[in-house]
Amino acid sequence: MIRASIVGASGYAGGELLRLLLAHPEIELAQVTSERLAGKSVGRAHPNLRGVTSLQFSSLESLEPCDVLFLCLPHGEAVERFEQFSSLAERIIDSSADFRLQSASLYAKYYGKEHPRPQELGEFVYGIPEIHRDKIRDARRVACGGCNATASILGLYPLYRENLVELDRTVIEVKVGSSEAGRRATSTSHHPERSGSVRAFAPTGHRHTAEIVQSLENGVPIEVHLTVTSVEMVRGAVATSHVFLNRDMSERDLWGVFRAAYRDEPFIRLIKERQGSYRYPDPKLLAGTNFCDVGFERDRDSSRVVVISAIDNLMKGSAGQAVQCMNLMLGLDETTGLSFPGLHPL
């Protein structure tokens, strides 16, 4: 068995990783850390896991060597302790934003400070398998993509890959659930304030813009305009992206483009139907799954194409993506432990 540990396992993404790894047939979960809950049972933080495991949270100081180390710490903390972590495991998968960007200047622009270890940035492979599968297979360090970035990138990648859109006119609106804000309660997450709210919390300047640009540009600068709005749901992110074709293409042509990009992808589904309740991707159906559903429509009256891409932010947008990357890094079937098809109705 492969021994894996999770640092920062009391948060929502850590809890999802726990759930996935406890059921993974090739993994023995060695340690899970939480400074606040050290010595307490895992079920204290994740009640869905009561009776499933007898694991207790450990402190960081007691962390022992393992085969794969997952980092689910708040942004900025993985990089601060990187020496400790890199001495404990040959393979590290980081869910934070600390190592996602290849460029130190891009990091400084979007995170407002210099990267503490810029020499490490090139050591990490960006963890979206649909784009970097071969590199992830050979990687020792993977930085998982941000949830909003993952949904956006997977929606737009086929069009950018084939250079089919105007490079200075991409507008993305992402609607997200409350779990994206993390586990810690604040005055803005207080139920009377949050419930029923449609909150534009990042009209411009969202940090995930940098990952989207990094992933989609192909040697030529591009402009991506991202807005993120939180809506009344717990899990899920849906990106509605507006791009403009640089040549005449029919809907059938676009089907061919998306099909060519994703035909063999186990976790991408093309969803575009003319009838029924779920004609386009809807994150409601994706709760707990590792799917990214992608749909599109070409505007009859212009060159605009609207791409809709949906994920469970805690799964394909975090823990599921991390396990998919781990499977690749270990030479396992990529889908191992990730076959849950979701629930309906929910």
């Binding site: 809907e251 059938r252 089907w255 061919g256 099909r259 093309l270 575009k272 139907e273 003319r274 009838q275």
Partner: protein, 54 residues
Amino acid sequence: MNACPVCGGGVNLPINAVLSELLDCGECSSELEVISLEPVRFAEAPLEAEDWGE
């Protein structure tokens, strides 16, 4: 194997298919109507109109 008129994906005509028979495209889930058997041709099946506040 015949092409779906919506997405271009492959659609198999069932044995003993008849004119006006309805079937689904396995790729885009469009409901298709068989409008010709020789040669085989499909068209999108008509839908009931819906008004979503438009």
